[in-house]
């Protein structure tokens, strides 16, 4: 059980493939050569830096620095989820709803997984905590951004239907129920698809990585299953919180639909 170490020459050889793509783009005038190379260079720099950061974090094994790293990850996830919205809430809520729900869901599920199932010593050992949080956050972010996007566009498109229910004496919760349900569905579908396709269509990245690192396939699969459940839990919790908070923000205490609390349509 050992990793075959990679030399820088090995990596350089693999990079030839990217240059080949760039050459292809030039030959076919796809206009992608520059973007390909910039993206490739970014990837190398970002991953190298992360490698150094993780190395330092693991050596320190300090709860403060681990928590700080976790916080930064959550903030990046919140920004990313917000950037993917076509129409956003105004003010603090633009960022607050997604980030808040992901933070709560990510922390609850990661701590649950670390404290009761994976049980490293100490439980916050960054070698386990950071990758597990990363996987949970990445998936929760997907679910939350899909769910919020559907909630907001649903409320805009179905305004007449929502207000028709309000006009007949429905509460804001009742009137929003249809849109809320659709948003929850939209946010959960990638998780369901991921679980259904795992092993058949795609070999999950973590499991593949562990196998490459020399772990027994059966052990790697057990880890992957555990992570899948944690991801499912994180996505469900984060999505529920984000959609319910969003639906609340879209209505008010006088049971009105408040589309005026949304900003103008973004281009992205």
């Amino acid at each position: 059980m050992s990793v075959v170490p990679l030399s820088y020459v090995d990596i350089g050889l693999a990079a030839v493939l990217l240059f080949m793509n760039a050459a292809l783009s030039l030959a076919l005038r796809l206009g992608l050569a520059r973007r390909l190379l910039v993206a490739g260079a970014r990837m190398v720099v970002q991953l190298t830096l992360i490698g150094l950061v993780l190395k330092a974090l693991f050596e320190l094994a300090s709860p403060t620095f681990t928590a700080l790293a976790a916080l930064i990850m959550v903030l990046f996830a919140g920004r990313e989820a917000m950037a993917r919205q076509e129409r956003r809430f105004t003010g603090f809520w633009t960022y607050g709803i997604g980030t808040g729900s992901m933070m709560a869901a990510g922390i609850i599920v990661t701590v649950f997984g670390l404290a009761t199932q994976i049980s490293p010593d100490p439980w916050y050992d960054p070698r386990y905590a950071i990758p597990v949080l990363g996987m949970i956050l990445g998936n929760t972010m997907n679910g939350v951004s899909l769910g919020l996007d559907r909630l907001v566009s649903g409320a805009v498109v179905q305004r007449a239907a929502i207000e028709a229910q309000l006009m007949l004496g429905a509460t804001a919760t009742q009137a929003m129920r249809g849109v809320t349900r659709e948003s929850m569905r939209a946010g959960l579908i990638p998780t369901i698809n991921g679980m259904a396709a795992a092993g058949l269509v795609s070999l999950p990245g973590m499991m593949t990585g562990q196998i490459l690192a020399g772990v027994e396939p059966v052990e790697a699969v057990k880890y992957q299953i555990l992570i899948m459940f944690l991801i499912g839990g994180g996505t469900g919790l984060g999505l529920l919180a984000a959609v319910l908070l969003g639906a609340r923000r879209l209505t008010d205490s006088r049971h009105r639909l408040r589309l005026d609390r949304l900003g103008a349509k973004a281009d992205s």
Partner: protein, 202 residues
Amino acid sequence: MLKIRGLARPGLEPANLDVAAGECVAVSGPSGAGKSLLLRAIVDLDPNQGDVAIDGLSRAAMLAPEWRRRVVYVPAEAGWWAERVGEHFPDPAIAAPLVTRLGLPVAALEWEVARLSTGEKQRLALARALVMSPRVLLLDEPTSGLDPETAVTVESMLHERVADGIAILIVTHDAKQVERLAKRRFRMAKGKLSPAGGEGGP
């Protein structure tokens, strides 16, 4: 019965209006003058200021859904939230006689909303509001999509309800309809509500 004092929102200047039980009051005016804004403000669908009360009960003292069950607004183009017509009624069995009264077959309750004509939608939206037995009805162009005969059917039904003691505030462009239905008339221009015609004034 319906008492409005200083009801205002952006696009609507403070409006005062009283509608008595068993009375029908008409509001007319050019498009974009703020007629629908007034009706929306009465049922509290948008943020607004001012006092509105029904039978001496203030709107502010009531939960919004409770208020909207007493004062029901039927917009010119009503929204639908389910696939079939019947799903929009709390109890389709109670709706059946109303639907026939409005010149539609009882089978209309089984129809798909997507296949309704404008006139069918208008009448079904009215039926949907009437089964709530509201004290006040706010109607926005309730017969604009109907042929004259059907419009008369709808009007006669509204007459009956008024005779039973409900109050109606109707927005319409149809001058003849105003004559047939309403004793008092108001005019809305640039967000300002004012009495129109000889018998106007609260």
